[in-house]
Symmetry: C2
Subunit: 232 residues, 2 copies
């Protein structure tokens, strides 16, 4: 019944927070700047949803995540009184292209790929997802991005666009994500859903509540567990 | 200077003709139908450019290659007096998702991938390219298709769209193709170009003339030679 799996990426496949904190720490060391980098990372990430929502409401024209990230980054650097040149800002902004996968991600994807078509379904732009896959060795069959559909998740067009691009019915496609809001929107568009619990996404001791049992088709502890449950 | 390689697929990466002849032969055996399958394959392929040209001229709305292939296939089956059900036609039409790579393709791509971002840039639809990659083990970093840009090659929007999607300048992107017309259009759009000679694309003894020496940035005998010349 399920023919393809589409994966949310930030937080589900890759550990954005640890990766960004490590990049910020290296940036600070190189440029002689200091800040609470964990908090800076959280503030950077916190700018993401509101910026996308401005695009979703039509207040901004289509704007790739790289540009949304950069706008927020320059605000935060200004706020922290850190002045560096554009090249340094560009390099730091591309930290989102260099995120590290969760430890179970690649082995789990390799297993799932034997049985299902596996693709990204991320709000990240194509180049971000492509560079990340090449660098981290993520074995996607296809890189699908909100950019291709001109809509950000949770707009329904993204989920339906992915099914159309993969030439499967919505019910033959399963979204895999660590975020209930993404999964609910996918379910409303007719997709199947797999929730993967990522207790460290927001840092140690900041686990979020699990969705109610049975709300999604599958609930998994990691990608190995997901592969077990999906018979891959 | 070159950061990414975009590959034409049919004829450049995969041997469509031998693959389609083998699929047609199996189809004939299964359904008790006989025909000159090599000629049938050539006639099927010959319908491809005129059908795309109708889309390019605006006589047809955007139509994926799967549908263009299917339209031509049903004409050819009717002409040959072969009647089978829709499921059999659909399966046969998806032969284009199951094309086999040239013997040098995967090893060459693995080498090139170490140094460059590698992506498809094909008129094939996303699901066709995705299924082909999964089945054949083609190690793309990204699957880029004309479908994403709403234009077929050689429309300039496809070449420029690929550079934009990969976030590189046109001159940082090299099109790899066995077809001079594709390469000329890419060059006109500002891309670099690599011609790969595929003497067997149209069958033994049907080699086409090579382009003039120096017309393209690189001329290679196969993907291993291309990797040698590009230092990968």
């Amino acid at each position: 019944m399920i023919r393809a799996l589409a994966f949310d990426v930030f937080g589900t496949v890759v550990d954005w927070r640890s990766s960004i904190i490590a990049e910020l720490t290296a940036f600070g060391r190189e440029h002689g700047a200091d800040a609470d980098w964990a908090r800076f990372a959280d503030d950077w990430r916190a700018g993401y949803a509101p910026a996308m929502d401005r695009v979703r409401r039509g207040e901004l024209p289509w704007t790739p995540i790289d540009d949304l990230h950069r706008g927020r980054l320059t605000e935060l650097l200004d706020g922290a009184g850190i002045a560096v040149n554009d090249t340094a800002i560009d390099h730091l902004n591309r930290a989102w292209h260099r995120l590290q996968p969760w430890p179970d991600a690649i082995a789990g994807l390799e297993r799932l790929k034997r049985r299902y078509t596996i693709a990204t379904l991320s709000n990240g732009n194509v180049s971000l997802l492509t560079n990340m896959a090449a660098r981290a060795g993520l074995p996607w069959d296809s890189v699908l991005s909100a950019e291709m559909f001109g809509h950000y998740k949770p707009d329904r067009e993204v989920y339906l666009g992915a099914a159309r691009a993969l030439d499967v019915a919505p019910a033959e496609l399963m979204l895999v994500a660590a975020h209930p809001s993404d999964l609910r929107a996918a379910r409303d568009a007719g997709l199947h859903t797999a929730y993967v619990h990522r207790p460290l996404e927001y840092g140690a001791g900041r686990d979020r509540p699990r969705p109610a049992a049975g709300e999604f088709d599958v609930t998994a502890e990691d990608f190995g567990d997901l592969a077990d449950q999906l018979g891959a």
